[in-house]
């Protein structure tokens, strides 16, 4: 089974370090970014399946980052990390294409589970796309 490649985006450095360690222990490949800008930058070069994105960040906030990711890298799934004040926006986030949201403070397992769900969705989507393209290929051969 393909290894889940996860990106953590949060302005708290210590959180990134610890969570990354924990996730790597669980066999997840983790990339961390301390801002939206850095995340987008990293996405250009690194393959990432799922992004865990904090909404409240200085500079480019979670939403703008989410919209940018969804525009530039549509297959990348995004899970939002939210506090209370951004609850309504969490729903907006879902409408803007986020896979799900997690309310802080969240268990690491909760985040990981959601991440796997998102990963699976992405894989199903990829398989579907592959099936379609190969189907059309066969179709092409028949012709």
């Amino acid at each position: 089974m393909e290894k889940l490649k996860l990106m953590l985006v949060d302005d708290e450095k210590r959180y990134l370090q610890t969570t990354a360690k924990l996730m790597e222990k669980k066999g997840i490949e983790v990339v961390t970014a301390q801002s939206g800008e850095q995340a987008l930058d990293l996405l250009r070069t690194r393959e990432v399946h799922v992004v865990i994105l904090d909404i409240k960040m200085p500079g480019m906030d979670g939403f703008r980052t989410l919209r940018a990711i969804k525009t530039l890298y549509p297959p990348v799934e995004v899970i939002l990390l939210t506090g209370h004040a951004t609850m309504d926006s969490a729903i907006d986030g879902l409408q803007s294409g986020a896979f799900d949201y997690v309310i802080k403070p969240a268990d690491i397992d909760e985040i990981v589970n959601k991440a796997y769900e998102a990963f699976q969705k992405r894989r199903r989507l990829e398989e579907k796309i592959r099936g379609l393209t190969s189907g059309s290929g066969r179709h092409g051969l028949d012709e």
Binding site: G83, H84, K104, P105, I108
Partner: protein, 576 residues
């Protein structure tokens, strides 16, 4: 300070109340007094005049009647003296014939006598034996011989019975003769006293010396007796006098007097004042009754109106105060809620890190066990483990608090739908029935199934009700640890627009100083760690969000009532 302010407010209210009451009583009473007083004055003046006038008229008429009676009787005798000369009337039987004729003319005549110029009673017709008696020295005889005619006062004379006489003379010198008739005093009495005025009116005649010439209906002074009041009567003059006077018995009378018979007799007509002025008294009583009734009505109405007015004013004042309190409470809650939410949000980030760190430590421990680097039975390791699990527990406690706070601030998430108390509440009660029965608490519910619905979020409503039920059960258990607990849930249609839900317990109750704070966030009387102090404030926020209100009344050691008022959903939304 507060008490002092309340007190001065109280005295001010009382003063205003007194002033209003005074004005309301005094102002309508002024026209009432004026109207009744003026009409009473004019009415009674008119009555008095008319009573006096009618008495005057009566006495005048009566005088004329008596005068004409006396004149007629005198004319009767004068006619006889013109028809007969002494010779012809002195013949046998003639005097009797003449007397018969006179008697036929007037029943007042009792006898008739003929006298010669020497005063000898020559002929007599009547029931006494007076013939042959000599009257030369009698006062009346001398008077008639001198003046030609004479009407006497009442006197006893030879016969010793009260009577008066009318005498006329014919001729002159030694040829002169006199015809004398006696008038029946009974007949005269009846005529004089025959006048009847009201209940007590009477008429009588006194002579110049105050001797009664006739009897009177009331008795008192008999014929020939002196009237003790005479000296007080006007002495002469032909006019009619009216006056008020007390008689010797002390009764007040209205008198009317006039002189007659050439100022020799005084006709008196009198009537008891009470009787004469009885309409005056009726008017007085009527006025008094109107006055008393008027005053009673004015005073009564004033009290009633003032009381009503002030009840309304007080109610408005109370409502205003309540509304003010509610507004203050609502804005305070909103502020506190906002602050708390911001605070919770900021706390969440460090909590998140602590949680991650904890997870990391736990995972490292696991690795150490697996690699057998540490002994899981080691005492110090166990203590570390224990401490670690405490961290997890306390972090989750913190996160419970922050989540509750966030829920409190999170209002727009509610999914509004039509909820029927008759469906929702019994379902929620089922959830706590088990706990209640274990604790020995009797649960009563009175929730009509046909109550109209309200708009709200089902799970939020459930949260509110569960919170109230659980609070109630906690309070009951403290007050009645074994049995005797009562939890009562009632719902009713309060009026056209509102549904009211009451949750009543017989628990410990809330201290009066705490009542104002029960809906404030973080207020709790429970021991540390047992409650966040957010439950009721969240409930309050939810109910407010439904457009309703939440209120509480409580008595220490008796119990608490939470009252939720919710607006009924619009008619078109209600199920048919």
């Amino acid at each position: 300070m507060m008490d002092k302010k309340n007190m001065s407010e109280d005295t001010r209210t009382r003063r205003i109340k007194r002033n209003i009451l005074t004005y309301m009583i005094v102002i309508p009473l002024i026209p009432l007094f004026l109207a009744v007083g003026i009409s009473f004055y004019y009415f009674t003046t008119a009555l008095e005049n008319s009573s006096t006038q009618s008495l005057k008229r009566i006495v005048g008429d009566h005088r004329d009647m008596i005068e004409s009676f006396l004149m007629e009787r005198k004319s009767d005798l004068e006619m006889v003296t013109r028809l007969y000369d002494f010779e012809s009337i002195n013949r046998n039987q003639i005097i009797d014939d003449v007397f018969e004729i006179l008697k036929n003319k007037s029943g007042a005549f009792i006898d008739l006598g003929l006298f010669d110029s020497r005063g000898l009673h020559v002929k007599y017709s009547g029931q006494y034996q007076l013939t042959g008696k000599l009257y030369k020295e009698e006062f009346w005889f001398r008077e008639v011989m001198e003046k030609g005619r004479y009407i006497s006062d009442v006197f006893l004379g030879y016969r010793n019975v009260p009577h008066f006489i009318i005498a006329v003379k014919k001729g002159a010198g030694a040829d002169a003769w006199v015809l004398r008739a006696t008038i029946d005093t009974l007949f005269f009495d009846r005529m004089v006293s025959g006048v009847r005025i009201g209940r007590s009116g009477e008429a009588y005649i006194l002579n110049k010396k105050g001797i009664a010439q006739t009897g009177r209906r009331s008795g008192g002074v008999n014929v020939m007796e002196k009237d003790p009041e005479f000296s007080a009567f006007p002495s002469s003059g032909s006019t009619i006098h009216t006056f008020l006077k007390s008689d010797p018995q002390g009764l007040k009378f209205l008198y009317a007097t006039t002189w007659l018979k050439d100022q020799e007799w005084l006709l008196v007509v009198r009537q008891e004042k009470k009787d004469a002025f009885r309409f005056f008294y009726y008017a007085l009583y009527a006025s008094l009754i109107i006055m008393v009734l008027g005053i009673a009505i004015v005073v009564g109405m004033s009290f009633f109106m003032t009381e009503k007015l002030f009840t309304r004013i007080e109610q408005l004042g109370r409502e205003k105060k309540d509304l003010g309190n509610q507004l203050i409470r609502a804005s305070q809650l909103a502020e506190v809620g906002e602050m708390a939410a911001g605070f919770a949000h900021e706390i969440n980030n460090p909590l998140q890190i602590i949680k991650s760190e904890h997870a990391l430590i736990a995972s490292i421990f696991e690795d150490l066990y697996e690699n057998k680097k540490i002994d899981p039975e080691d005492q110090e390791i166990l203590e570390l483990q224990d401490s670690l699990s405490q961290i997890e527990l306390q972090v989750s406690r913190c996160s419970d608090i922050t989540r509750a706070i966030l829920k409190f601030g999170r209002k727009n998430e509610a999914r509004e739908q039509l909820l029927y108390p008759g469906e929702q509440i019994p379902e929620i009660i089922k959830m706590i029935e088990q706990r209640a029965s274990v604790e020995g608490i009797a649960v009563f519910q009175n929730i009509p199934v046909d109550l109209p619905g309200f708009m709200g979020d089902a799970s939020q409503f459930q949260q509110v009700m569960l919170n109230l039920f659980n609070n109630a059960i906690d309070a009951i258990m403290e007050q009645h640890p074994d049995t005797g607990g009562r939890l009562e849930i009632q719902a009713r249609s309060k009026d056209d627009n509102w549904i009211e839900i009451r949750v009543t317990d017989n628990g410990t109750g809330i201290q009066p100083e705490h009542i104002a704070k029960v809906f404030s966030p973080f207020f709790t009387t429970k021991p540390v760690g047992k409650g966040t102090g957010l439950g009721l404030s969240v409930c309050y926020g939810i109910i407010e969000n439904f457009g309703g209100t939440m209120d509480v009344t409580s008595r220490v050691n008796e119990g608490t009532i939470f009252i939720i008022t919710l607006p009924k959903a619009d008619m078109e939304k209600q199920a048919p």
